[in-house]
């Protein structure tokens, strides 16, 4: 008999801790963007980058099973992006993100967005070393997603309710959705916006700047 008492995700967690130290030493803000496919992660990123790139250094890691389309969309905005194809894998892991950092060489005090594979389930368990998971839910997906996929909403610190421009055409119940999210995670913060029209983007930009500022504090 051998007693080993090892967390199954211990290996991933060790790489995540290394990434977290890497971000900390450079005063970077790293965010892990998670959602189901098509909720608008890449659109939110290109719109965000367009508004912030003159004032901040930004880099993006894109995770998808196949294609480099999302990284190309990001590069078209003028910021560096690296695509990771996970193949059969349904989530990014901290080891591959660590390698991506070696190639990408993000600047000190930069903002790093990691767009995870579109999947509301698996990425919740894999820490990448990020400061926060940000879950994006579009209003076309239905208000019950937070209680149907509780792990993800439990793991996230911020929820973005996207595509609010479509609300007039749907019977999406925003209040109920927010209540479900808080039921799963009482500490979650929630922002509503439309990446397409730009409505509500200001609060998101303010949140980003505030979080970036927090990373710049040099603790002893």
């Amino acid at each position: 008999m051998v007693q080993i008492e090892q967390d199954i995700l211990a290996k991933n967690n060790r790489y995540a801790a290394e990434n977290r130290r890497y971000f900390g030493e450079r005063g970077m803000l790293a965010l892990n963007l998670v959602s189901s496919p098509g909720s608008g992660k890449t659109t939110l990123l290109t719109e965000t980058i367009a508004r912030l790139k003159d004032d901040f250094d930004i880099a993006v890691i894109e995770g998808d099973q196949q294609t480099a389309r999302d990284a190309e969309r990001i590069r078209a905005t003028g910021v560096p992006a690296l695509q990771i194809n996970t193949g059969k894998g349904c989530h990014l892991d901290a080891h591959r993100v660590g390698h991506a950092l070696e190639t990408l060489q993000p600047k000190n005090h930069s903002l790093l967005f990691i767009e995870n594979v579109g999947n509301l389930v698996c990425p919740s368990a894999f820490d990448l070393g990020e400061a926060h998971k940000v879950v994006i839910l579009s209003v076309t997906e239905g208000e019950d997603k937070p209680i149907k996929y509780p792990d993800m909403f439990h793991a996230a610190d911020l929820m973005i309710l996207n595509k609010t421009d479509l609300l007039p055409y749907l019977d999406f119940d925003s209040e109920q959705c927010i209540q479900y999210a808080k039921q799963v995670n009482p500490r979650i913060k929630i922002l509503s916006l439309s990446a397409k029209t730009g409505e509500g983007m200001d609060s998101w930009l303010r949140w980003l700047k505030a979080e970036l500022e927090l990373q710049r504090i040099d603790y002893a």
Binding site: D7, V121, D151
Partner: protein, 113 residues
Amino acid sequence: MHEMSLCESILQVLEQQAEAQQYSKVKTVWLEIGALASVETEALRFSFDVVMQGSLADHAQLEIIEVPGQAWCMPCSRNVVVQQLYDLCPHCGSHQLQVNSGDQMRIKELEVE
């Protein structure tokens, strides 16, 4: 969720430990799985057999120790048992709950040769 990749992580731990603990074959693996860890034990068993094929844990037996979910209820100021992450407090109905046990996925013990 992703039971397949969990089993791949388990295999990595078994292989790493084989050197340190000097074994070449794993006969039984005891896992501690929390009720809130979102692991489907049936799917885990299935993936386990598939992933361990041809490895040092080929045909190993999988024993799963289930750990109940527990959370701290802020209004009640005490620990309560919860079945799922989004459960309300069974005593006061609050959702101000802080999970403090039952979300673990750990390898506890191995029977080896």
